[in-house]
Symmetry: C2
Subunit: 263 residues, 2 copies
């Protein structure tokens, strides 16, 4: 059934953890000097439990203030490591704004980042200058103007497909901005919140918040649909578009085409 691994004697276990976090009090996923980050918290806890330094690889490097309900991370531990009750031990050690949902021993070919085929995000907005409920204060972006749901969806539909999203990404030297946007649609839920589901093979830096900002410009009547198409075609950021705040954004799901991938 399965191919033999290339290094059967390599003596380590590849562990996947699925985790969720409230990103409010963190400077994002990635470790940075003098900053509190999710990666640092996870790696510190893992090092204490396994009694050895651990380096993690993440599926989606979320920015400061961005949340996750289905983030995926992998790391390796020596084969003889004590990983029994790892989920329980991690959750006891971590603050309650980070929770490990699942721990799985994977095939060595599994890679949290490179094996991932799609990332799904949600973005939540409360428009029309309504007051956000305190129970949603960490994961909803308030907006003062009223947004037209049909226009949100029409503008978002123009962006779906494989494009160079340079106009919607923070510039990074040498980084490709070609991405395949698979899903970008909005609903208004029972409580009146606007919720976007946004999926792509991968996202460039700050891309989701740029996409949301651009379609909001259309949905509030400030710009038209041609303005979106022109931005996409011109591949250049325009100063009158918006970048929406991190707190409305949640990494909800990472998709893998079969969990067994050989390296």
């Amino acid at each position: 059934m399965s191919e033999p691994t290339l290094y059967p004697e390599s003596g380590f276990l590849r562990i996947r953890i699925d985790l969720a976090y409230d990103g409010t009090n963190y400077a994002g996923w990635a470790k940075q000097p003098d900053q509190r980050t999710i990666q640092e918290e996870i790696e510190t806890a893992l090092a204490k439990i396994t009694q050895s330094p651990i380096e993690t690889i993440v599926a989606g490097r979320t920015d400061a203030g961005v949340h996750a309900s289905g983030q995926v991370v992998h790391f390796d531990v020596p084969e003889n490591s004590e990983i029994k009750e790892l989920l329980f031990k991690l959750n006891r050690m971590l603050d309650d704004d980070i929770r490990v949902l699942k721990v799985t021993v994977m095939d060595k070919g599994f890679h949290a980042r490179f094996s991932a085929t799609r990332r799904y995000y949600t973005y939540k907005i409360l428009d029309g200058n309504q007051v956000v409920s305190p129970l949603h204060r960490v994961d909803v972006a308030p907006w003062y103007r009223t947004l037209n749901l049909d226009l949100l969806n029409s503008a978002s539909a123009l962006l779906i497909g494989e494009h160079d999203f340079a106009a919607f990404c923070k510039f990074r030297e040498g980084a490709s901005t070609v991405r395949n946007l698979i899903r970008f649609n909005w609903i208004r839920d029972d409580e009146g919140y606007l919720i976007a589901e946004i999926a792509a093979d991968a996202f460039c830096y700050s891309m989701v918040r740029n996409l949301v900002g651009a379609v909001v410009c259309v949905a509030e009547g400030r710009n038209n649909l041609d303005w979106i198409s022109a931005m996409l075609a011109n591949k250049e950021r325009v100063p009158d578009s918006l970048v929406f705040v991190a707190r409305g954004l949640t990494l909800s799901f990472v998709e893998y085409n079969g969990e067994m991938v050989y390296g």
Copy 2:
């Protein structure tokens, strides 16, 4: 159209505020010495804005740790009070775990407590020892056993109607425990959370959390439906029933039969 008020010259305005809060960091609604309470925060802010002491009357006196998405409060201010932009001013002054959703000048006969005809609560549980998402950590009660949804609903249905709920209320000398439970039903949402909607004319002290605890005893298979019926009939608290934690509970809505009620 409307009857004349009895005291047309009384010189005050009756104000209704609709508010929401995350009750995590408060000792409940009602003022208590040396405790941080929602009432104290609201009254302190109101006194600063109106430059006079304010006493508030609330629709539902929520316990420590209980949340609200649709709490209703009234208070009176001198007729010449500066109440323009009261919502904006209150929200600027209050911590962001309390939000005023709406400010309305009411007829003097309106009473937040006595005019209310129904109170609606929701209760959220995540069962089967699953890890609660950090974004839900303040408003979901985790439960280690798996709960059967049909049994939750069957047990809850037995409690609907006008009954003496003495078995489900914390004893208070002289307080009636006869209530009319109008709605008590459960769904499991897309994310797997169990959500109860619970409505009554009014609730006794700790009644919602007792009702939830009792039906959970049935839904986890520990007690049967007859046990619920017997508890209700015997009007006595039983030691093997449960009282569920405050944090799963949210006061979601207060119903008034017409907002204009004459005193």
